[in-house]
């Protein structure tokens, strides 16, 4: 897989040279403060917190895709969903969060896969509230689902993204499940240039 190796080096290069960086703990603590605030605002209604995080992520995704396309030098559209998965895991997550989740658990129709996070910077330092509910209801990093949903919608893919396990809940892995609902092939958005 010579080409894939070359491509991985490319992402490392993009991460090192093209991305302005900030201290990771600033981001992590800011996210933590935000989630804690949401829990307070929604009176620990974690289902609502999850929804709000997803919504915020979606808004981010809509805007982030342009940045992604510019930084990653991606000129061509992904030819299939498998390629999309590769780009998300190895390019998207790498250049924004400096992690590379593992792609796994494809369904045979190639429309569903999982991202398994060995590392999740957002979850550094985090212990969920010990209230007997948070570990069953809160998806702490749910913003990431929204980001994927929003970003992919901008490139004509309607997906569903949701966490199915999280080490913060006491699971052994942190896994996000992504399902392709459909390609949005009508009315392409106008090109910028």
């Amino acid at each position: 897989m010579a080409s894939s190796k070359a491509s991985r080096l490319g992402e490392e290069y993009v991460w090192r040279t093209r991305m302005d960086k900030v201290n990771a703990e600033l981001v992590v603590l800011t996210y933590g403060a935000m989630v804690a605030q949401l829990c307070k605002d929604f009176d620990s209604d974690y289902v609502k917190v999850n929804q709000q995080l997803d919504k915020m992520g979606y808004n981010i995704g809509l805007r982030l895709i342009e940045d992604y396309l510019a930084k990653s030098n991606t000129f061509k559209r992904c030819s299939n969903f498998r390629e999309t998965a590769e780009m998300i895991a190895k390019v998207g997550f790498k250049i924004f969060l400096n992690i590379t989740p593992t792609i796994t658990n494809w369904t045979s129709d190639g429309k569903q896969f999982s991202l398994v996070f060995d590392e999740n910077p957002f979850a550094d330092f985090v212990e969920l509230p010990d209230d007997g509910r948070a570990q069953d209801e809160l998806w702490y990093s749910n913003i990431l689902c929204g980001v994927l949903r929003g970003a992919l919608e901008m490139v004509q893919m309607q997906v569903e993204a949701k966490f199915v396990s999280d080490v913060l809940r006491g699971n052994d892995t942190t896994e996000m499940r992504i399902s392709l609902i459909r390609y949005i092939d009508d009315e392409l958005p106008p090109e910028d240039d």
């Binding site: 991460w15 991305m19 302005d20 960086k21 900030v22 201290n23 990771a24 703990e25 600033l26 981001v27 992590v28 603590l29 800011t30 996210y31 403060a33 935000m34 804690a36 605030q37 605002d41 709000q52 915020m56 808004n59 981010i60 805007r63 982030l64 940045d67 250049i95 924004f96 969060l97 400096n98 910077p121 550094d124 330092f125 985090v126 212990e127 969920l128 010990d130 007997g132 570990q135 913003i143 080490v167 809940r169 006491g170 699971n171 052994d172």
Partner: protein
Amino acid sequence: MAHLGPGKTASSKEQTGLRYPSNGKTIYHRPLNRTKTAELSQSSFAYLFSEMVTYAQRRVTGIQELEKRLNVQGHPIGLKLLDLLLMREPPRTQTRPLTIIALLHFIKINLWTHLFGRQADRLEKSSNPDTPDEYMIVDNEPVVNAYISVPREMSQLNCAAFVAGIIEGVCDGAMFPARVTAHSVGGKEEGEMWPGKTVFLVKFQPEILEREALLGKS
């Protein structure tokens, strides 16, 4: 302190219901220094931060209230960083700040360098004899302003209110209760060289100055 009696002990509720992964990994197993120098992309921060502002904006009625809310969200971060940064200091310099100056230096140097990769640009004491309790930390180009686009109707908003909250958290935690506010001064003083230039006004509570006088350290 009389309110602790036998029976009302912290250990009486030691059982917790939290589940942990089968490898037993918890926050206590993670070395605290692992992310000391780790980096994430600035755009991740910018996206996150502006989403946080947009969300907060919907729950308030004006700029002042919004800034207050950002301040409140920064506050616990300051409390946490105070101890995280102290813990990481080598034994020789691992000391609690005992004076206003020592505290402000900790903020200008340690806190700023950790969060923003450089010291704050300047530290000033109010020259107004009526406000000896006021100090200013100057940042020519706060990250939170440089990369975050604020909605047009919010153009007066200074997102550095969030950083002001972090500073306030450090001050309060160290027993120097203060009110910290962020003020844009870019364009007023030095032309347009630093359009985002921000002054963090730190106003200590009166008893802090009294304490300093008492300890003979001011």
